[in-house]
């Protein structure tokens, strides 16, 4: 039932519409990092009618605060952080053209509704697999808010970055489907 895709960013409406909850996706190309503090600043910029530090159309945002790189490495360990903390900001960014988010854990209804309405995907990456996931990141450059340290916005180039479709554009949720199969009432 689960299909495997190799996709390159930016993502189009057509591409994200193919994806279903449970599909495995290997992402390639540019993705951007942002966590709590950066999300607040991005939405503040939109409220002020200012430009975002990167093109949001078709973009994928990774919820991550990496460890500092060791000398010679582009980045340190870089697994996903828990996504619900971005729930109050994500719908706004999705409405502006964001096509993918990578994190771990549940999203609220505002986010999944926005995923349906504007066609966007919430991908899950494996939490706690920071060493393994960091190796799929080939370059990292801070493009905004360096003062936020691990929370600064980074532009990453990734190769075959492994994620799973959690919330698709049809209102399905992998966490609900998976749990229902194994729950003993």
């Amino acid at each position: 039932m689960s299909t495997t895709y190799h996709l390159t960013t930016p993502l189009s409406d057509e591409t994200v519409s193919k994806l279903k909850s449970g599909d495995i996706v290997y992402l390639n190309g540019t993705i951007f990092t942002a966590r709590d503090a950066a999300h607040k600043r991005l939405v503040d910029l939109l409220d002020e009618g200012k430009e975002l530090p990167f093109d949001i159309k078709g973009a994928v945002i990774y919820f991550v605060g990496p460890t500092p790189p060791k000398p010679g490495d582009p980045i340190g360990s870089a697994g996903p952080t828990t996504s619900y903390r971005m729930d109050s900001y994500s719908p706004r960014l999705i409405a502006e053209g964001l096509k993918g988010m990578i994190g771990k854990g549940k999203r609220n209804k505002d986010v999944t509704d926005a995923c349906e309405k504007y066609k966007a995907i919430y991908f899950g990456a494996t939490g706690g697999a920071g060493a393994l996931l960091g190796k799929q990141i080939k370059s990292a450059e801070i493009i905004a808010y360096p003062e936020l340290g691990p929370e600064a916005v980074r532009k990453l180039e990734v190769v075959d970055f492994p994620v799973t479709v959690v919330n698709d554009t049809y209102g399905e949720d992998l966490y609900k489907i998976g749990r229902a199969q194994y729950e003993v009432k």
Partner: protein, 283 residues
């Protein structure tokens, strides 16, 4: 009096912090392997495989297991016959913590609660460490350390029940906590349960319960039995590894119980993700 140099404590603390960040302790690694063997869901099994591979990469390439290298939490037992020479014990632990996080290329995850600013003027590089100190007999310093991540801490909770809630009240409360948490705290989990004491005693006990080795048996047979009951109940939730659905949601339930006030039954649930980075040394 045995004299222990401030610098010796700094060095020991620094070393355990750096080592723990990339090396999953044997008890946690074995528990993850066992979960991999037992897991019925192919999706969760695949993710467990990825996590075991991650542990392998982290240890062989000295990379942090997880980007959340935690807040540094210590339970320290200071022997009454020890004199720390050259500075204060608390300062030595904090200095060792900062050294470990800086020199190990670990993430500084502390910040001001409201401004969220993360700079050396206000908080230091991942400082302050969280230190629970006890004074005991003897001439040694016993240090238990864990790197405590935020995702699992965020789903932890505490409540003071009326005594009538009893054992069933505790079971239901823990189950509700883990069920609500779902995929967020990075299962499979270790669940620390502090029962009794006062409000804060229950919370500290639930934290300390996470430092116990997975697979060890509770010394109190009644609590050992309750741990088994709760673990079975939690694994019925079907959450699985990273919430993908599955049979292995918790690796262990650890209880620490204390006598409490005749009017109260405090219960605290502290949750630990699958990356249970904890260690124990004696100086």
């Amino acid at each position: 009096m045995r004299e222990i140099a401030y610098e010796e404590i700094v060095k020991n603390v620094r070393d355990i912090i750096v080592y723990s960040a990339s090396n999953l302790p044997e008890d946690a690694l074995n528990a993850m392997k066992e979960a991999y063997e037992n897991e019925k869901s192919p999706v969760s099994k695949e993710v467990l495989k990825q996590l075991l591979e991650n542990a392998d990469i982290a240890s062989s390439e000295a990379r942090p297991l997880c980007q959340d290298t935690g807040l540094a939490v210590f339970f320290v037992k200071l022997g009454a016959d020890v004199k720390v020479v050259g500075g204060l014990l608390k300062d030595a632990i904090n200095e060792g913590t900062e050294k470990g996080y800086v020199e190990g290329y670990l993430r500084a995850s502390t910040c001001h609660p409201f401004t969220r600013a993360n700079n050396k003027d206000t908080v230091g590089y991942n400082l302050p460490a969280i230190i629970h100190l006890d004074i005991v007999e003897g001439d040694k310093i016993d240090i238990e350390y864990a790197a405590k991540g935020g995702g699992s801490e965020n789903v932890s909770r505490a409540r003071v029940f009326p005594p009538a809630a009893g054992k069933q009240g505790v079971i239901d409360y823990v189950k509700e906590c883990i069920s609500d948490a779902g995929p967020n705290p990075c299962p499979p989990l270790t669940v620390g349960v502090g029962i009794g004491g006062t409000f804060e005693k229950a919370a500290i006990s639930s934290k300390h319960a996470l430092f116990r080795n997975i697979g060890s048996v509770n010394e109190d047979p009644e609590m050992a039995e309750l741990e088994d009951v709760i673990k079975t109940e939690l694994n019925k939730l079907g959450i699985g590894t990273m919430g993908m659905g599955g049979t292995e949601t918790v690796l262990a339930v650890h209880i620490e119980a204390n006598p409490c006030h005749i009017a109260s039954l405090p219960v605290s649930v502290n949750v630990q993700c699958h990356s249970s980075r904890h260690t124990h040394i004696t100086i």
